[in-house]
Amino acid sequence: MLKALIITRLKALYGSFFHSSRFKKKRRGSFKILVAIFALYIIATFFFMFFGFFHAICQPMVSSGFAWLYFSIASLTAIVLCFIGSVFLTKAQLFDAQDNELLMSMPIPPGYILLSRIAMLLVLNYIFQLFILVPAGIVYYMNYTVTAVGIVFFIIEFLFLPLIPLTLSCIFGWLLAVISERVRNKSLITTVMSLFFLAFYFYFIFQTNRYLQVLIENIHLIGSKIGSFVFPVYHFGLSIAEENISSLVLFLLSAIVPFAIVYAVLAHNFIKITTTKKGLTRIKYKEQPLKVGSAKSALLKKELNRFYTSPMYILNASLGVVFTLAFAVALIIYRDLPNLIIKDYPQLSTYINPLLITMICLLSSSNIISAPSISLEGKSIWIVQSFPVDGSDVLLAKAKMHMVICLPPVFLASLACIFTMKFSLVQIFLTLLLPALVTVFCALFGVVINLHFPKFDWLNETVAVKQSMSTGIAMFASMAVILLPAILYGLLFMQAMSVELFMFIFAIILSAVCLWMYRYLKTKGSAIFAYLG
């Protein structure tokens, strides 16, 4: 029984990445290859990123006798990444999964349900961890000799390390669940809390980057700090670097014991946690005059309502908005920075302004609001389908929602550029045009891609937003749309034309593509949508 539960979970995890309900039966070989290439690309990117990181710190650390610190930092990075990657999913999986009640009513011990879900989260953590510990291990292996005992130690600790982030995310997810159960303005509180959490995370990342040098220079000091403060991480490093059995035992204990305690407490309270619905005081409806609007504006309002009432959607799909605003503020605060850069690298002076424009484009393209918007209709898709509205109006409302949310910050950032930097007239024109155009592109592209990779069989919205083909493709494609032309210019067209002219041509091509997508949604897209689901 437990095996069946666990297998269902893992299948769901696998399915959420690689299946869309529409293509479930007749998946073609070429498509599978595309998915494989895409997955490989992501894996390679992360892999090499961390490979570079560990390559930079390996030799300085090990050669000054701090091999253990090298592994400690690797494990710390793994813990942080796993935690960030799984905390919201943990909350969704453990505390508000819709099939909890169904499973609970069956003759299955609650501990099994919990265990099957934790097993799935554990697998997810192993996947995250692969990206960090494997490069770290390889870098070390390439530079220094490794013994068989060391490898065994490494593997054992690899297997147990995820228990630490899992313990943390269980606790944090539980806190989130308890808080959001008791508060009326749930969506606001969760959004604020998560943003706060995220800000802290980025602060942490920026700090480590800035102090990478300091880290290497002050290994002794930091080493002693880690040794005394981050107990499990310290022993993780020590046991591998010095093949120290007692450290290994201490590490294993410090990973297993807290996890066992948290698991025991959770299993004991699982029924209570997932079945108490505190409920909120009822608001009684008082009759008010109703606002009348057109069908199109009603569709847009509906989409916006869905967006604003879901903190999960806001946080996962519109971080670019926060970054774009942060970028605008940073431009105003550090307005001298570009000049300083030009002073040191005068050859960059012609490119600094176009680079700023590209930056805004890139930030805006990280919003994927429209990409899960069709999937989010879920089982209620019959509503718009049975209504006398053209499918294209529904689809365009989704694209419009994306634009309504993303365009204002983009224009703010563009204006910040124009007012703080010295822009030529052509550049001003491009600043106002190009980022807005990219935003429109992302909005339309998200809808088009979701139309072809919809996912309606989710139990939790998180799955539609975070783990679906559609959002994955949208995220990488919209980034590629900016990075590829930039690379193309650097490699091929730099001599042939000015960057402004190149950007202008790019804008024309992009407009043509947008126009094509608009026409597509109006005609073929509308027909596809009518019978979707």
């Binding site: 409806y285 009759e287 009348v292 504006s297 019959w382 049975s386 006398p388 009518a530």
Partner: protein
């Protein structure tokens, strides 16, 4: 004059024929019951009539207009209540009703009047400010019904509308169905509750494995027996 005309409707899912060459005529002023075992093809037929399922063969006319040729025109005249009331959980009841009214372009005073009338009738008025996610199944069903009535449809197509409704709401819904027909509209609905069908319907059709078994006025179909006896006999063959 026919309000809904289904001609030789055929729908396949892969190799499986869910609805096989089905023809039904629903006249204006009629409450038309649609009966069949689980998996007989009722929901499939109903979804095809509402323009949310593509069918392989045949034609469907709403008030004389083909749903294939003018889907929007047809949808404007009909209202659909599905078997499961999956609504927009993130909206409040009143926001949902106003959304539907906006879509059907219902004038302000009329929408306010109708919402008040039906929400009071179904005792849902106090809950309209609550998000739909906090509604019970029956409350969601009531809201789906109210939203279907908001644009004063000529044809109401319902898939097992009485499931989950309390006796009082069931009673009011029957009255409303009769009233729509008295005003020249028509009702086409599926049900498993044969007693209700027997009392309520003017005409009835029974299907089995996607094929029409019998159709006609209630008297023609059941004669002197009860509808239940007729149904069981037909199923037994």
């Amino acid at each position: 004059m026919r309000m809904l005309k289904i001609e030789h409707l055929t729908k396949k899912y892969g190799d499986k024929t869910a609805v096989d060459n089905l023809s039904l005529h629903i006249k204006k002023g009629m409450i038309y019951g649609f009966i069949g075992h689980n998996g007989a093809g009722k929901t499939t037929t109903i979804k095809s009539c509402c323009g949310i399922l593509k069918f392989d063969n045949g034609e469907i006319y709403i008030d004389g207009v083909s749903i294939k040729e003018d889907p929007l025109g047809c949808k404007r005249k009909l209202a659909y209540i599905p078997d499961n009331p999956y609504l927009y959980e993130f909206l409040s009841g009143i926001k949902y009703l106003n959304f539907v009214a906006d879509i059907f372009d219902v004038p302000k005073t009329e929408r306010e009047e109708r919402i008040k009338k039906y929400a009071d009738l179904f005792e849902l008025t106090d809950d309209l400010a609550q998000p739909i996610s906090s509604y019970s199944r029956g409350m969601k069903q009531k809201l789906a019904i109210i939203s279907a009535l908001i644009h004063d449809p000529k044809l109401v197509i319902m898939d097992e509308p009485f499931v989950g409704l309390d006796p009082k709401a069931t009673h009011y819904l029957k009255n409303i169905m009769r009233k729509i027909c008295d005003n020249g509209g028509a009702i086409f609905f599926s049900t498993h509750v044969l007693e209700v069908a027997e009392k309520l319907c003017d005409e009835v059709a029974i299907i089995r494995k996607g094929k029409l078994v019998i159709s006609g006025t209630m008297e023609e179909v059941k004669g002197n027996d009860s509808l239940e006896d007729v149904f069981l006999e037909l199923e037994g063959e």
